[in-house]
């Protein structure tokens, strides 16, 4: 054991700072109170990593969630950002309001499969339809974790609960519905597939509109048994990535060194890109009908396909552009711009008398 040096060794590096001048730790949140081994915690870690590597300014992020174990995680990352843990299934509407009030913020939404696909399905679809700018993450475990393990609407047909109950109905596939509603960035991933998840999250954070990342995230306590199709075992064995996903930031040189025909490049705002490299399947994520067909087949054959399932610039303009909002946030406009003049009132009064 070497004795303690009098001065710190030159090798004890200061923590690495990102382009926002912040260390990784600045993107952490409070300690998690979830069950240890919960898939949600792995997603939290990827959100922290992605935010750090994306050089996010904490003040420019709003963290939003509904209710559930998954929704609690909004407190476990980006401690310096404003966060809003709302009510069950209604984060989509809250996010819409935040977006209208301040469209310069990046909304990061975390929700559960119950929160989004059961109680919140209507709001979720309407948010997608409006193309509200948000990185919307579903932490999908097929059950209601917080209320102790009932089926959620994403549970696969034939899958069982811990106590044996069998789900007889088809699952609701949030990705398929989002594609139907015009969502332009639709991804599916697995909490255990860190690299893919990290890259998909980065793309979603950069997206100008609704970007959906549906992440299978096993509930270790209530849905990790034989017969579950959202268990670690099932997900690890069955995951089939549609492609290799790489996020390339705007400040990194982009070498189009991938074989033509072997890659698919997606341009994100301000020069960033996502590069999808072909694996076994020949899959074109810009084809809406094929994407839906793929999801339908995955459902019928119990396939677990991950990657960027759909991307195509064809949806409506992002909501705040549809509304032609001024450049500054509405929230902080001065009175001189939000109260019409005395003359306006007088002329209205004249017209009424």
């Amino acid at each position: 054991m070497p004795s303690a040096p009098a001065t710190p060794p030159a090798t004890a590096k200061a923590p690495a700072l990102n382009r926002a001048g912040l260390p990784l730790t600045a993107y952490r949140g409070l300690p998690s109170t979830l069950c240890s081994g919960c898939g949600h915690d792995a997603i939290t870690n990827m959100i922290i990593r992605a935010s750090f590597e994306m050089n996010l300014e904490p003040a420019q992020v709003a963290k939003l969630s509904g209710i559930g174990c998954s929704s609690k995680t909004a407190a476990y990352f980006l401690n310096q950002s404003h966060g809003f843990n709302g009510v069950h299934g209604r984060m989509a509407a809250i996010a819409t309001g935040v977006n209208l009030a301040n469209h310069t913020l990046l909304n990061i939404g975390v929700s559960g499969d119950g929160d989004t696909a059961s109680i919140g399905l209507g709001q979720f679809l309407h948010m997608v339809r409006r193309n509200v700018r948000i990185c919307y993450i579903i932490e999908n475990n097929g059950v209601y974790g917080l209320t102790k393990g009932q089926f959620s609407a994403t549970a696969d047909k034939g899958s069982t609960l811990k106590r044996g109950e069998v789900n007889e109905m088809d699952p609701i596939d949030a990705c398929a519905l989002a594609i139907e509603m015009g969502c332009e960035y639709v991804a599916r991933s697995f909490s255990g597939d860190q690299k893919q998840l990290l890259n998909l999250l980065k793309g979603a954070m950069r997206y100008d509109g609704t970007a959906l990342v549906d992440v299978v995230s096993p509930c270790i306590t209530f849905n990790n048994h034989e017969g579950s199709t959202k268990s670690y075992k099932f997900a690890k064995e069955r995951e089939e990535a549609l492609h290799d996903v790489t996020y390339v930031p705007d400040y990194e040189p982009f070498f189009a060194d991938y074989d033509h025909g072997q890659t698919h490049t997606i341009d994100l705002p301000d020069g960033a890109r996502i590069v999808l490299k072909k694996l076994d399947r020949d899959y074109d994520p810009s084809d809406r009908v094929r994407a839906l067909e793929l999801l339908s087949r995955a459902r019928d054959e119990h396939l677990f396909l991950t990657g960027l399932i759909y991307h195509h610039k064809g949806g409506p303009k992002p909501l705040t552009k549809q509304k032609k909002l001024v450049a500054e946030p509405l929230a902080t406009l001065p009175q001189s711009r939000t109260r019409p003049s005395r003359e306006v009132l007088e002329s209205i009064m004249d017209s009424l008398s």
Partner: protein, 617 residues
């Protein structure tokens, strides 16, 4: 005109038997009801009549009683003219314009003896009474003369009755024509068509009808400097000048026109002159849960946000209302009350959401209510609601009703807001730098109102986590009992602080003795008229305090202290405001005597008088 057979004319009522006094002409004091079919376009004609009388300087009110459909069911429009300015609803009709085959039998049956009727000649056979003054008018033939287009005749024939009524009541033809121009604005073809129709009705009547001049409008000067406006439109103007920035809504009668009007005003007056870009957003939601969700998200992020709805929408907003209360988020809901429960009578008026709105949600929560009585207050309270929501960081209700919202009222011109907007206790990055400390829910000033920061504030101390679950003053999660009760107690303190920020109650009539009366909202007109009547006829009437908001200020306590009996006039079955008064002032509970009206019609003075006399006996 002579082309028309002169057969249909006026049938005078048989002269009164000797025992009855000779009837006096009713000058500027009578009630006219027009019975038509919904969707037949009579609204414009009724508005023209209203305007023409208004322009002649005579106090007038209009109440539309309409069904919950677009076309085909009976609808009644009642104009009350009163030289003293008593323009609450009055039930007895002096002149009926009977145009609706569906309702004519009942409309005629209900008339008091000696009343006048303008009857569509097609409905002649329905006349079974001989104690009415009847003027039979061949509307079909008349309109054919001025309106060659068959398609438009139904619409235009309404303006023929305007001419007939105008002649009978002595409304000046020029005023009718001016009102038509006002009503149709720039549509010159419509103006000409409708003018011709009104002229024809007027001139034909002069030639063919008998006019005993028992119902007459005489020029006065009571409307100088006044405007005509619906309560909902007044509300919209309040939000425009109150600087609203985010509006979320889901259509429902009778609140839809608040947002329709507001959206039109915003699109006209709230685009940046240089860029043409909008300084507001109006988004139609998929339901009321989403609408209030938009408002909460926007309020949390710092916008001045509101929504408007009615009873069924309020029910859907319940969960979010509690979140706004407990997470302390500014929000405004306009509740244009209609008759419930369930979908109830969606086109009838009432004050039936008072308790529901006040306690909306689960757990302990109470929301401030603002209760306007007239368009001027609707305008002022709308702007004020945005200030209060931000000042108190809570949900504020503006409790209007269908009577105020959807009827045309005469009102004084609205004043420009002189005070700057109140954006409440918001800390900037510079404030945080100076203070070096920020705790979201700490009661720093002792008024129960904490400070907040907005997302986007560039300072490491700015961020905090908002939740509906238990929290400490520093906004961290807590299930400790002391944290919970201390927080609830602080919220109660904040609620009490609201009492002094709300508009103070108004002593409308000084009390002579120890009997008082409390009323609120649109009961005001009928109550004032009733008290005047009691004073004149019985030489005795209670004093009157008008409440304009909840929570109650100390002035309300003092009023209860000073009176042995306090009648509380309400337009609901269960004495909702009385219940609140009894809850907050249990020591005076037995002094309160609810006086209730809940048939869906606007309150009238006669029923208030009756009930007060009964109470006295």
């Amino acid at each position: 005109m002579s082309a028309i057979a002169p057969t249909p004319t006026s049938i005078p009522a048989p002269s009164a038997h000797g025992a009855f006094p000779v009837p006096q002409p009713l000058l500027n004091d009578f009630v006219l009801t027009v019975a038509t079919v919904n969707g037949s376009g009579s609204q414009s004609a009724n508005a023209v009549l209203f305007r023409a009388i208004f322009q002649m300087g005579v106090p007038v009110s209009g109440k539309s009683i309409f069904p919950s459909n677009i076309q085909g069911l009976p609808t009644w429009y009642t104009l009350r003219v009163n030289k003293e300015g008593w323009i609450a609803r009055r039930a007895d009709v002096d002149l009926l314009v009977a145009l609706n085959p569906e309702s004519v039998a009942e409309d005629l049956r209900a008339l008091p003896s000696g009343a006048s009727v303008i009857l569509h000649s097609d409905l002649k056979s329905m006349l079974k009474r001989d104690d009415l003054k009847v003027h039979i008018v061949p509307f079909g033939e008349l309109v054919a003369q001025v309106c060659p287009e068959v398609r438009l005749r139904k619409l235009v024939s309404n303006m023929v009755y305007v001419g007939v009524v105008g002649w009978l009541l002595g409304i000046e033809l020029e005023e009718i024509q001016k009102a038509i121009v006002q009503q149709f604005g720039k549509k010159s073809k419509a103006i000409e068509l409708n003018r011709n129709a009104a002229n024809l009705g007027y001139n034909w009547s002069a030639e063919h009808l008998q006019n005993d001049r028992m119902l007459q409008i005489r020029r006065m000067d009571a409307n100088r400097g006044k405007i005509l406006i619906e309560g909902n439109a007044a509300c919209s103007l309040g939000f425009l000048f109150g600087g609203v920035t985010v509006v979320g809504w889901y259509p429902i009668t009778p609140s839809s026109s608040v947002i329709d009007n507001l959206a039109a005003l915003l699109s006209r007056y709230r685009h940046d002159p240089e860029t043409g870009k909008a300084t507001y957003a109006v988004v139609q939601a998929e339901d009321e849960i989403a609408a209030i969700g938009f408002v909460l998200g926007a309020g949390w992020a710092g916008a001045r946000a509101m929504t408007a709805t009615s009873g069924p929408g309020i029910s859907l907003m319940a969960e979010m209302a509690g979140l706004a209360y407990f997470a302390e988020i500014p929000a405004v809901i306009v509740d244009v009350q209609r008759v419930g429960p369930s979908t109830g009578l969606p086109t009838r008026t009432g004050q039936q959401d008072i308790l529901k709105a006040h306690f909306l949600s689960h757990g302990d929560c109470r929301h401030p209510l603002l209760i306007p009585a007239d368009p001027k207050e609707a305008y002022e309270f709308a702007a004020l609601s945005l200030d209060l929501a931000e000042r108190l960081q809570t949900l504020v209700f503006l409790m209007s009703d269908l009577d105020l919202g959807m009827n045309l009222w005469s009102a004084p011109r609205f004043a420009y807001p002189e005070k700057p907007m109140d954006r409440g206790k918001v800390l900037s990055a510079a404030d945080l730098e100076r203070l070096k400390k920020f705790e979201r829910y700490r009661d720093v000033d002792g008024d129960g109102i904490p400070y907040r920061t907005l997302p986007g504030t560039r300072h490491p101390l700015a961020g905090y986590f908002t939740r509906g679950t238990g929290h400490t003053p520093a906004a961290t999660y807590s299930e400790k009992t002391a944290d919970w009760t201390e927080n609830l107690d602080r919220l109660a303190k904040k609620f009490r602080a609201a009492a002094d920020l709300l508009p103070a109650p108004v002593v409308e009539v000084e009390s002579k003795g120890d009997v008082g009366l409390i009323a609120y909202g649109t009961s005001d007109m009928a109550v004032k008229e009733a008290l005047d009547l009691l004073r004149r006829e019985d030489g005795d009437a209670p004093g009157y305090l008008r409440l304009r908001g909840v929570p109650f200020s100390d002035a309300v306590r003092r009023y209860l202290e000073r009176h042995r009996i306090v009648h509380v006039v309400e337009q609901n079955r269960d004495a909702q405001l009385t219940t609140l008064l009894r809850m907050d002032f249990p020591e005076f509970a037995s002094r309160l005597r609810p006086l209730l009206h809940y048939d869906g019609m606007p309150l009238d003075a006669k029923s208030v008088v009756q009930k007060l006399r009964q109470a006295r006996a």
